[in-house]
Symmetry: C2
Amino acid sequence: MASLEDIAVSAGINLLSALMFLLAFAFLRLQPINDRVYFPKWYLKGTRESPRSAGTLVKKFVNLNFKTYLKFLNWMPAALKMPEAELIDHAGLDSAIYLRIYLLGLKIFVPIALLAFAVLVPVNVTGKSLKSKTDLVYSNIDKLSISNVPAGSLRFIAHIVMAYVVTIWTFYILYKEYEIISSMRLRFLASEKRRPDQFTVLVRNIPPKDDESVSKHVEQFFRSNHPDHYLTHQLVYDAGTLAKFVQERKKLENWLTYYQTKYERNPKKKPMIRTCCWGLCGSSVDAINYYTAKIKDLSEQEAGEREKVMSDKIAIVPAAFVSFRSRWGAAVCAQTQQTDNPTVWLTEWAPEPRDVHWNNLAVPYVGLTVSKLVMAVALFFLTFFFMIPIAFVQSLASIEGIQQVLPFLEPVIENEAVKALIQGFLPGIALKIFLILLPSVLMTMSKAEGFTSLSSLDRRSAGKYYLFLLVNVFFGSIITGAAFEQLHSFLNKAPTEIPKTVGVAIPMKASFFITYIMVDGWAGVAAEILRLYPLAIFHLKNTFLVKTDQDREQAMDPGSMKFSQSEPQIQLYFLLGLVYAAVTPVLLPFIIIFFGFSYLVYRHQIINVYDQKYESGATFWPDVHRRIIIGLIISQLLLMGLLSTKGAARSTPLLLVLPVLTIWFHRFCKGRFESAFVAFPLQNARKKDKLDGATEPDFNLKEYLQNAYVHPVFQDDSMKLPTLDDEEYNKLKDIEKSSFENDVEDTLDTITDAFEMVTDAWEDMDDERRHALGV
Amino acid sequence: MASLEDIAVSAGINLLSALMFLLAFAFLRLQPINDRVYFPKWYLKGTRESPRSAGTLVKKFVNLNFKTYLKFLNWMPAALKMPEAELIDHAGLDSAIYLRIYLLGLKIFVPIALLAFAVLVPVNVTGKSLKSKTDLVYSNIDKLSISNVPAGSLRFIAHIVMAYVVTIWTFYILYKEYEIISSMRLRFLASEKRRPDQFTVLVRNIPPKDDESVSKHVEQFFRSNHPDHYLTHQLVYDAGTLAKFVQERKKLENWLTYYQTKYERNPKKKPMIRTCCWGLCGSSVDAINYYTAKIKDLSEQEAGEREKVMSDKIAIVPAAFVSFRSRWGAAVCAQTQQTDNPTVWLTEWAPEPRDVHWNNLAVPYVGLTVSKLVMAVALFFLTFFFMIPIAFVQSLASIEGIQQVLPFLEPVIENEAVKALIQGFLPGIALKIFLILLPSVLMTMSKAEGFTSLSSLDRRSAGKYYLFLLVNVFFGSIITGAAFEQLHSFLNKAPTEIPKTVGVAIPMKASFFITYIMVDGWAGVAAEILRLYPLAIFHLKNTFLVKTDQDREQAMDPGSMKFSQSEPQIQLYFLLGLVYAAVTPVLLPFIIIFFGFSYLVYRHQIINVYDQKYESGATFWPDVHRRIIIGLIISQLLLMGLLSTKGAARSTPLLLVLPVLTIWFHRFCKGRFESAFVAFPLQNARKKDKLDGATEPDFNLKEYLQNAYVHPVFQDDSMKLPTLDDEEYNKLKDIEKSSFENDVEDTLDTITDAFEMVTDAWEDMDDERRHALGV
């Protein structure tokens, strides 16, 4: 067990590494060449111009003003300066509310930590249970924790009271926060200007009708059932194949540009490539000709497909976006059931246009329920049994495994240096790759469940990831052994034994989790601000692909808040804080530093970097709330288990009250606030309708809505939207990217593309160098 | 353990007692004097007239036509004759669908029983495991059960296949049934004539507004948010106290009538009563004067209260029935959220007028969530710990207990006969009284949860009662010991151990459950048809209270289907059938006889006796479906546990598929059908609106709805409803009765009243006899 000194050293190291990240960031962000990596949000907003366009050549790339380096930490107060209202305006409600999760952590844990250090730590320190057993190895941390209190002591009253205080304080803060956020959401929705989704309902599972087109059927149905409110509708085309063609073409165009640039820079040498096996074998051909021909080919295919989609009846999927004359009409249609059969004519609020996940609009009802079942089973196996295939891959990836599968590599492997590398590197890499790919895998699983908006996909994936973290990081760290072994042992234990088994191990793992918080939390957040991966990609693209300013605009990757990944991680810290609040309060300051530091960093990133993919109006808050409640219940059960092994079993009924109260509190909050995140009240719709009617009585709503929901591939070239303003048009163009980029395939694609580009650049380094510097 | 012969004897005895009940019924129902007990439904419908009005004196009381006695079983085919459509028309959809539960039992278990006897019984019989151990006591029933198959035998494949067949067959039948019933419900709703609740929405939690009356506030709110649809509204008055006065007055009037009748019959002796302690002590006064004075008193109080309610603002509760111009408007309002705050302006479909539970309309949101929490905790303790107070009462009710508490009774108790009676009788009586009162207790608990309609109260109570039966009858019989002991041992066992512990005991309890089915099921149903309690009460009232034909009408107690009690009991039989289908199929025929016999009896009762209190359109079906699913899952888990102890643990994964599939099936059905029982689709509303508009364009809807939802106490005397037809008016009058009569208090009241009346009659027997015969 780590002593206080070990922890201090570890904290020092991690603080130092975090500081180094911050220093690197402070240095890099001041270089004009990196401006588009660290301030893309402002470029997208149009308020910042490329620094390259002014000043001397050197100044374009390197910041020589040394004064600025002295104030290298001044991004921190800058990040805090922007008031919340402006932040909502600047980056949307989702981002602003997301930041409030970190603040929530501070609000919950700072008072609890103060109280714990004032009361609980003295109670623990003077417990003297550990001093008496001099033969046991114990650390200073344990002396500050509940372990130091002898079994059966009356001092446990303090811990029980603390559990009550933690619970009630958390209730209070959670309730306040839910109240504030739901009112923020309602205010946000009320203050928004006219948007297509306010008038539109997504209708799915339109039943087939032989003698009529889908369009007529939809119109007839809504004209008859919402006669006073129906306005227009838009059909949905199955443009998945077409979108793939478009994407493929863009990739090829990138390569073409790359080789053209290369040729321009070095006109003596025609760039050649091999056509098979990722450029490893096959005949060598002229790269420019090759790609030009391929693009031409693909463009023809694309045009054919486009023709087919537009003319073929089969390409029309049984879903439509139906728009109404008023928000009231849309609110009514979205919240009511249309026909006897609840599996057809399903209506729900349309997501905003850029939030639509187009591929899922056509999934039929039975298919959906089946795939939900399959995904639930898959999630179970993924969570509990993921170690089995990885262990298998690891066994394959050993020296012997490689020798067996690829015998011709034997001479290479026999080299001592290579052997050491493989042995040190390979076993871990399978797990690492799995963990990197996991969020994408979970996202793909969520997509299979048929959600129709990106925001719901994000929320759903976050739920899956939280389960994974809970089982494999939290419980997995406390009880050693793979998850499926835990599962097996838990199934064979009494339900009352489980909190005991886990609870007993809790105080012993405090130092482990402190280290975890520092490595994963502190250093992870500091790495986030450095944006190493986007930095590298940007400079690669900038060097090889960028010709015009528009290209540079596209090379910029602002990224976005990865809610599906980072929210579950925050929840892990909430869980740790709640669990250790009454057990080992020493852990709390580390969590508080994490929340505070993250708040700073993410506020900076949201202001300067991230470009949100969609705006859901904080619909994720009920999930955040629910998971904190889950953490609270887990902490209560574990404390109960721990105390019952410490000779304080009589406290069980007292502590049993807490989870019951917590569940009740959850239901209470759910009833009180959740509908603000689900439904759109008629009163508010009416108010906005009236306001609109008063201010713009002659607005042509039908024209405004006509093309609001058109699949993004149809908007690329010919069909310019008549009514959407430019900002909205740009957002629409992003959809296609965002709705595909999260797939595993694409993640791999990006990586291999970058890899290819780098190796290619490496080969040509000599030729390139002078040109690159001479541009 | 009981042998086959024991079972046969027991079956014989029970069949005989059932037969005797049936014979008694056949005899009693033919007597004209009992006509109103056995055919009240027809009297209420107005198609049957009192047989007393015609024929000779004797013939009015006794049936002397001996031919009719020969066909004493002809009620059975008669009960089956009425086609279902006519039955729905005659007794409502609720009753017709309720009967289908019994049919469902037959549909599920008859084919399974045939298959089990063809396949499983031979497999078990030839298992020969029990023959080898001659020292063990085993019965013939066990030889037919899974106990006869040796551990680890391949024969268990047959049982696993049987479990799959049972599951899939049940799925099929349940799915079909759900489909049929939801379409029946929709057809029923579509074919109904105009009813107030189709146009009306119940609005609760109307927020207070200082400067405006509730009525104005409601009107303004709905005029502004549903401008095209709002028609009118009715306020709800807090008339609970008034209703109590009315009820009390009626009771006193009954007593007055009783003493007046007595005095008329025996004018020599003025009836006297004592005024304290249930007539035990106090001064003796003239009964007629006493009651006349009391009634006068109460009438004045009642008038004052009536005045107060009508004029006082405080008596207006923050709830209202809001009516719309069209069904479409009501459907929209019922299904949507009205304001930001989901705890005010709550809208839901109004129950039909006679289904309203008036007392709960005013409960505020926070109060509701708190009382739900309290009731959940109370239900838990009631289910698991009810034996503790009963054991305490039992200990008090022993000879020694009585001697301690009431020492002056010692001489009486010392009498041997009395002692034997007390010792044999008292210990059981506390439990019996508890079990008799239990449904009323559960109903009171459900009322505290704030449901606003009698039908939802019934459904809710049924759920509670089912839990009680499941824990205390099913699991309680399998594992001996009180429920809280079971709970304790289950909490200390691994989750995988529980199915094993219970599963192992399953085959051993087969003979017990067979006896249970015969005693509780067969004999219970036969007793139901005899209606002993209503028979006694009717004749009591008829003798002492009835003067006019109208009185006789009121003395008639048709009763109604007690859904909250009988549905959970049926579910117990479903559970038993599913559990034993693959284990001891010999039990199935007994269950089949129960279902068949019950179907007959209840069909007869529904046609001839019961008068439904409300019509909910079979909204209870999702509950029925869900509970059968729960039974199915329990049966699968128990079979899994049983097989894993029989050396067939490898079958566990195979059987684990079944509960997962079952849960999925449940969710599938829920998504597919449940909304038909919750929502009212807009399309259907529109259709009916259009039809109405076409057939009766000039109908004055406002006038029709004006007084549809008035608290029943206001309809008693002065305020005659202008637009409701007489049938509906009569139904309204029943509300008051039904909304109070189920309380524990009232149950006790009825019993004590009857008891008093009988004792009083007993005292006066000599005086009475000649008069009673001479009337």
